[in-house]
């Protein structure tokens, strides 16, 4: 079947077709860094106006309009403190791998966006908080940054403008919570990555208690295109309240997993069946997680839902980080709930009691349900625990566990009930998620043998 026009709009990856855009020379051949040159000749406020006109919403998960976020910062000449830009490259929401491909294939596009955004807010220093596990991507971005430095695109006196920008890559070390912006700032300051209480928001008091703009990798990579097209024209792509394209990470039981850039408003069905080739091994679609493991699930008959913020909200879920996880008819929804809850229990930073204790309770009750040892009352207790987590913590991590699990029960209650009624899993060991070993259940005795300790 022919793809829709929306599914063929590739604002970011289109330029990379048949080219190695990790190299500065090739990136420049397709107009690379022209948007930076253009923006340096414009008033800061005029560049910001373009971002506001584009109505581009954050691509990290929360979907907050990027231009508005930037407009919350004090003006450079009115700020008593230095202003910082931080790129959030700590992608770790389960199911999400789009920023990784952007960093690996479009590092200069990302850097160009980062430099433009830094200039807009008047920052002289920017940090890239890069997920620790992304070693190959670190090397690519580091090398691209070095190329950009040598070409005068980053560093002192950027392109002769008289404006300086230093960029430091700060590598994470394995903690999902550091993708949450205030935890990220703590980690960048050399602390345990525990979220801060808000307000004050980072725009007023971010890293080193200074005004800070934090943007996701994909959001920043979109900035050069916005300036190239003009904000108003960019805003016409997509649908209302969801301008432009997004890179969706497709995974699970599909034929062709991978990243697909499409215009917002493209249907979930087109992504899964036309681009993704449909359900693998000729199985039947059971459920879809549309925005990373933290969002409520959709059932197979909701597959026509358009991929945009408002349509997902109308279905009681979210576009989140753009991670679409597909499950076929072999997936036990209790096991799914257990595995998702285990992840958030593992990643809870422990600061807020409802999240720290609640995720642990969720895992323990879900384990009992799966093993057929739960009483009827414990299913209600599980929902009660979810309810007591929701909205009661400093950051959304607790919600990220409670929301999806509550949705699995709401939409697949009969399956949960069968576990209780039948005293065990109706899949009888045949579910795809049967007995998966989660890190939270892994024995911590890492050492089996006596290993010689260096003197």
């Amino acid at each position: 079947m022919a793809l829709s026009k929306q599914a063929k709009t590739h604002l970011l990856f289109g330029k990379a077709e048949g080219r190695d855009l990790t190299r500065l020379a090739e990136y420049e051949q397709v107009g690379g860094y022209e948007s930076l040159k253009k923006s340096l000749k414009m008033e800061r406020a005029a560049v910001l106006d373009q971002l506001l006109a584009a109505n581009v919403r954050g691509r990290g998960g929360a979907g907050f309009p990027m231009g508005r976020k930037a407009s919350f910062l004090p003006k450079p000449d009115e700020s008593a403190k230095p202003i910082y830009l931080v790129a959030n490259a700590d992608e770790s929401e389960p199911g999400t791998f789009k920023d990784r491909e952007i960093l690996a294939r479009l590092p200069h596009m990302f850097i160009e966006g980062l430099v433009i955004a830094s200039h807009v807010i008047g920052a002289n220093a920017a940090f890239v908080y890069l997920r620790g596990e992304y070693l190959t991507e670190f090397e690519i971005v580091r090398d691209a940054l070095e190329e950009a430095r040598r070409a005068g695109l980053v560093g002192p006196n950027v392109l002769g403008s008289g404006w300086d920008l230093s960029v430091v890559i700060h590598r994470g070390a394995g903690a999902y919570i550091c993708g949450e912006e205030t935890a990220l700032l703590e980690s960048l300051e050399g602390k345990r990555g525990q979220p801060r209480s808000k307000p004050p928001f980072p725009a007023i008091s971010g890293v080193y208690a200074s005004p800070t703009l934090i943007n996701n990798v994909e959001t920043l990579a979109t900035v050069p295109k916005i300036l190239e097209m003009g904000g108003a024209k960019y805003a016409k792509l997509g649908v209302e309240n969801s301008a432009g394209t997004r890179v969706f990470s497709l995974s699970g039981n599909v034929v062709n997993g991978g990243n697909y850039e499409v215009e917002l408003g493209t249907s979930l069905r087109e992504l899964v069946y036309e681009l993704g080739g449909g359900i693998a091994e000729g199985r039947e679609l059971k459920a879809i997680i549309p925005g990373g493991s933290s969002v409520p699930v959709l059932t197979a008959d909701e597959v026509e839902t358009p991929l945009d913020f408002d349509s997902m909200a109308a279905r009681g879920t979210m576009l989140g980080s753009g991670a679409v996880i597909v499950m076929d008819d072999r997936c036990c929804m209790v096991q799914l709930g257990l595995r998702v809850a285990q992840f958030y229990m593992h990643e809870s930073c422990g600061k807020c009691t409802p999240c720290r204790e609640g995720t642990r309770w969720m895992v323990s009750i879900l384990r009992k349900i799966e093993d057929g040892e739960a009483s009827q009352g414990e299913l209600d207790l599980l929902l009660n625990v979810c309810d007591r987590i929701l909205g009661n913590c400093l950051c959304p991590l607790g919600d990220a566990a409670a929301m999806p699990v509550a949705s699995y029960i709401a939409k697949f209650r009969e399956e949960y009930q069968r576990h209780i009624d039948e005293g065990g899993c109706p899949y009888g060991g045949e579910s795809t998620l049967d007995h998966v070993l989660a890190p939270v259940d892994q024995h911590h005795a890492l050492v089996r043998a006596e290993i010689e300790v260096p003197a």
Binding site: P94, F97, G257, L446, P454
Partner: protein, 158 residues
């Protein structure tokens, strides 16, 4: 100790940041590269170079999964068992490694060559199962690929 190579490298890290404490994570990474894990001496060295306490460094390190507070094998094999990988057979891949190496997830082989562990989502979900071998991703890995991966590491260059 104040003149060690590690001390000097940490001073360079400190210079990158407006506040020296920001260098604690990159400093711990350097120390881990030197020792293979983070023994008490590593914390003492990092602490001295950064002018903080060893306990502070340990508190930071213990928060992050990539810092090892116990010795690990020379090769680190990490299998993602989060939802997307699990849906396409991550548990079977993990079990193939367990069987090939003769250890359980979370353990290190007797000869100190391999540590095997499960990890949470590595960010390669569309190409599962993702296995990180010495911090380089192999994707997708099927159970039948496991023998060759282990063999490659056993016979590989030092």
């Amino acid at each position: 100790m104040a003149s060690s190579a590690l001390y000097d490298e940490i001073q360079e890290l400190i210079a990158r940041y407006p506040q020296r404490r920001s260098a604690v994570m990159p400093a711990l990474r350097l120390a881990q590269e030197k020792y293979g894990w983070l023994p008490p001496d590593a914390f003492r060295e990092v602490a001295e170079a950064l002018d903080v306490t060893p306990a502070y460094c340990r508190a930071v390190a213990s928060f992050y999964d990539m810092f090892h507070l116990d010795p690990v094998g020379r090769h680190m094999i990490e299998v993602c068992t989060n939802v997307s990988c699990a849906l396409v057979g991550a548990q079977q891949v993990l079990e193939a490694f367990e069987s090939e190496l003769g250890i359980e997830a979370g353990q290190t082989t007797e000869d100190g060559e391999f540590t095997l562990r499960t990890i949470e989502c590595a960010g390669g979900c569309g190409w599962g199962t993702v296995v990180s071998v010495d911090h380089r991703y192999r994707e997708p890995v099927q159970p039948e690929d496991v023998g060759a991966i282990v063999e490659e590491l056993r016979s590989g260059p030092e």
